[in-house]
Amino acid sequence: MAVITYREALNEALAEEMERDPDVFLMGEEVGVYNGAYKVSKGLLERFGEMRVVDTPITELGFAGLGVGAAMTGIRPVIEFMTWNFAILAFDQIFNSAAKMRSMSSGQFKMPLTFRGPTGAALQLAAQHSQALESQVAHYPGVKVVVPGTPADAKGLLKAAIRDDDPVCVFEGEMLYNLKGEVPEDDDFIIPLGVADLKREGSDVSIITHGKMIHTALQAAAKLEKDGIQADVLDLRSLRPLDTDAILATVAKTNRVVLLEEGWPHGGITATVAALIQEEAFDMLDAPILRVTQADVPMPYAKALEKAVKPSVEMVIEKVNRVLYR
């Protein structure tokens, strides 16, 4: 195992898949000459040339649609959004075209297409640049959604996404690019889409989350351990497909659940998971399911306000104590 950053893990995934399959190409704003806004594509233009690492104009709807058209006729685009916030301009093509092409044509056209970019709040980027949109995207049948929280998951999930014949949206953590971790050194290391990962084991309470928030959950779990509370931390990794078995298994083990996501509560993935648990495992619950999410407001700029709006370790601990009736 090599210890590399999340950014390097994504870069390796791209390079290996482009090496493996000449039909894979990367397209987006600043991905080539500039080496990527977050340097994820560093060195790829030099290595693969300008037909395979393509700088676009600032035209999200246009190049997202280009990816869909290219995928439906047989090549495998990786479309980078500088952030998912900008991809809102491209949602027509993701939802109306990519998600529906196979269905509308009764399977005549496959869609081997990857959309990727950072999601979630960084620091004081204010309302338009701080959104965690993965729950919204996962709302649409026809797309798949993965949200890696570690370097190994970043590499394994991006490789799986590129090899998949469906449109996969990869939500990278904007604050995770410098995170280091162990990553297997195997060109065929992939993490199948739809498999959750138990990031920490415990028997008292389940914290179910994904993406950057797994680190908030793990910090909360470490503090709770000092109080004698052992938390299971389940990383969903994939929001669609969703690993129902893993969710039900942790609920069966602890009987108490706190759900955590970076985005808003209304229609968030935590709402879906809560519905799923009460529909399929109501009798296993010893307490109502509680959630920690971003406050249901657009992100404010001021430091103190931003801090208050974001989910925190303290909020998770508070909700855990409540489901434990402490």
């Binding site: 190409f25 037909m51 676009t56 104009p57 035209t59 709807l61 246009g62 190049f63 997202a64 649609g65 280009l66 990816g67 869909v68 058209g69 290219a70 995928a71 439906m72 006729t73 047989g74 090549i75 685009p77 027509d92 093509q93 109306n96 075209s97 092409m101 196979r102 269905s103 509308m104 044509s105 009764s106 399977g107 005549q108 056209f109 496959k110 869609m111 049948p141 026809g142 798949k144 998949d164 014949d165 469906d166 199948p192 889409l193 739809g194 498999v195 959750a196 994939s238 669609r240 497909p241 969703l242 690993d243 129902t244 078995d245 879906t272 799923l276 529909e279």
Partner: protein, 371 residues
């Protein structure tokens, strides 16, 4: 109605591709118009336009009987555009369009039976009954749909053109949109990239003068659509959308440019629809008068072409009537075929959403039991 400074369409004749000429184009002689066409090809174009008309009339009838559901946009009046332009393509070239698409689908090679069955929502439809009037597809015929969001197909076509360049193929992507779509960002974003990267895309704007019920001059600051190409440094042309041969020639010139690495072309085909925006809409009313439509009937592309062929001894009146009987029969039979075709079975609800059903985790969230 607000005053407008843009001019109304007075001439449909093709103009030089640099858009410079202001003097009215001289009317071409019959010999000039027919030059270079084989007799059989001309007769086939006539046959195709007639089938297009009769098929759509049959679709209207079936819609009125409640056999076709949803939205249903007919092509009556515009036949010369798709028939002419698709005649100028090879089989392995691609076609994509918006939702007024039954004729494009048939012209690209899908049978009338499969198109009608799709309109009826049946298993033998070209999209297996999942697409309907606005979402016809045929991978076999390189017919890429059938798209329902105004302008949304243009970036997709850009991607297909990108694929052609990426794979170094000798093919053309021919994509259509209505005139109202050129106000969408998707149109402008796509033109920019197509021209920037010299992609083999030919965009044919079917200007039927009304975006649903809004006259073009009420929706555009610049009347002449072909001029928009200059903003992206790409060639453009006007085609007489009521003249199948002009549509053929203008498209062919653009296809040759695309094949030779000359990049994209914007074609404005000036045409007219004789029917309402969709089957749910009136032919005339607040946005145009009955008399307007009647006046335009004088330019019916089928009558004009039939007259041309007749006076040049290519197709007699008797042969035309024989042809008409043939295509009427095909249209009738397509409805009979559709009627007999089974409805898709309910086990198709969850098929062809994803590439494989053998996945980890749950793909669907409707809690309708194990899958």
């Amino acid at each position: 109605m607000p005053e407008t400074k843009t001019r109304k369409p007075d001439a449909r004749a093709a103009q030089p591709q640099d858009g410079s000429a202001q003097e009215p184009a001289r009317k071409k002689t019959d010999a000039e118009r027919l030059e270079g066409f084989e007799r059989e090809q001309l007769r086939k174009m006539m046959w195709d336009m007639l089938l297009a008309r009769r098929f759509e009339e049959k679709a209207a009838e079936s819609y009125a009987l409640g056999k076709i559901g949803g939205f249903c946009h007919l092509y009556i009046g515009q036949e010369a555009v798709a028939v002419g332009a698709i005649h100028a393509l090879r089989d392995d070239d691609y076609v994509m369009t918006a939702y007024r698409e039954h004729v494009h689908a048939i012209q690209k090679g899908i049978t009338a039976n499969a198109v009608m069955a799709e309109l009826y929502g049946r298993a033998d439809g070209c999209s297996g009954g999942k697409g309907g009037s606005m979402h016809m597809f045929s991978a076999e015929h390189n017919y890429l749909g059938g798209h329902g969001i105004v302008g949304g197909q243009i970036p997709l076509a850009l991607g297909v053109a990108w694929k052609i360049k990426y794979k170094k193929e000798d093919r053309v992507m021919q994509v259509y949109c209505g005139e109202a779509a050129v106000n969408q960002g998707a149109f402008h974003e796509s033109l920019n990239m197509a021209a920037l990267w010299k992609l083999p895309m030919v965009l044919i704007v079917e200007n039927n003068r009304f975006g649903m019920g809004t006259a073009w001059e009420r929706a555009a600051s610049l009347y002449d659509i072909y001029q928009k190409a200059t903003a992206y440094a790409m060639p453009s042309a006007v085609a007489d959308g009521m003249d199948v041969l002009d549509c053929y020639r203008v498209a062919m010139e653009a296809h040759e440019r695309a094949r030779s690495g000359g990049g994209p072309t914007l074609i404005e085909a000036r045409t007219y629809r004789y029917v309402g925006h969709s089957m749910s809409d009136p032919v005339s009313g607040v946005y145009r008068t009955k008399e307007d439509v009647e006046k335009e009937r004088a330019n019916d592309p089928i009558t004009l072409f039939a007259d041309l062929l007749s006076r040049n001894d290519i197709l007699s009146q008797a042969e035309l009537e024989e042809m008409d009987a043939e295509v009427k029969k095909i249209s009738e039979e397509s409805a009979e075929f559709a009627e007999k075709s089974p409805e898709p079975t309910l086990d198709h609800v969850y098929t062809d959403i994803y590439s494989t059903e053998d996945v980890n985790g749950r793909l669907y969230f409707d809690m309708r039991g194990e899958r």
